[in-house]
Amino acid sequence: MWQWLHSWGSPKWFYLKSGKWLVILSIATFLLLVPGLIWGLFFTPADFRQGDSFRIIYIHVPAAALAQSAYVLMALAGAVWLIWRMKIADMAMEVLAPIGLLFCALALATGAIWGRPTWGTWWVWDARTTSTFLLLFLYLGVIALRQGLPVNTAGRACAVLALAGLVNIPVIKYSVKWWFTLHQGDTFSLTSAPSMSSEMYWPLLLTVLGFYLLFAVAALLAMQVQILERERDKAWVAELVAEKAQQVGEAR
């Protein structure tokens, strides 16, 4: 088991193995996301209070969950980098930050779009929205450190910031319990029974799983690019490039 996990630490191994996983994950993403979104958009009944605007939860909830999960993953990669100096962990930190940032921005934007018809305003400085807004700046901070610092120190600085910012994740999660907030309580929980009817819950489950798979596909693709760019001087990458060039030549 450990040996198998350790082998994923090798950039070459990661690149070659992830290619096979990408096909399976892409198919699974399509099979979950498309039916989930169509079901949620067209076939679930409108909410008796929110009307049709509740359908935005089928993208808002998965995007918000992913924004937090991507951050936790990035911080874990930071810890691995600080402790074991595995190159793959540093690469993971670098690719997860922009993907997490995009999902965080999507969660905030769709929350604002949902808030306008439901709350009557685009934005409130509520505990949940403010802590998610802070998450956006943590992502921006990690990206800025990566861009602004020399290569030999950027990894450590990003890892420290990612780990320090981890304290914000339970704040986001429990903000609706710790403070009196306008934001509603948890829509989706893995540990308790759903608070919504099954007609609304099942498409949400599909879109949440579909978004996680989409994230896995995006992260693996970005990791492949990162590996190629950082290992461009290695013999195995040169062989891969020659192989691809030959394939292109044969196709012509």
Binding site: D52, A63, L106, I113, W114, A218, Q224, V225, L228, A245
Partner: protein, 52 residues
């Protein structure tokens, strides 16, 4: 969906753009990497051939 159509479709369009971007951008960069490195390899081979 006529009631909040504008809000719903704006949110779903944004989600589609993000979804497309996170997949299309690394695919484009990977293709670009292979084409630029492939071109370098070709140049190198031609140089080697020219210098005998």
């Amino acid at each position: 969906m006529e009631e909040h159509g504008f809000y719903i479709w704006t949110a779903y369009t944004l989600a589609a753009l993000v979804g497309l971007w996170v997949v299309a951008w690394p695919v484009y960069r990977r293709r670009k990497f292979f084409s630029s490195q492939g071109a370098l390899l070709k140049d190198q081979k031609q140089d080697d051939h020219a210098s005998g």
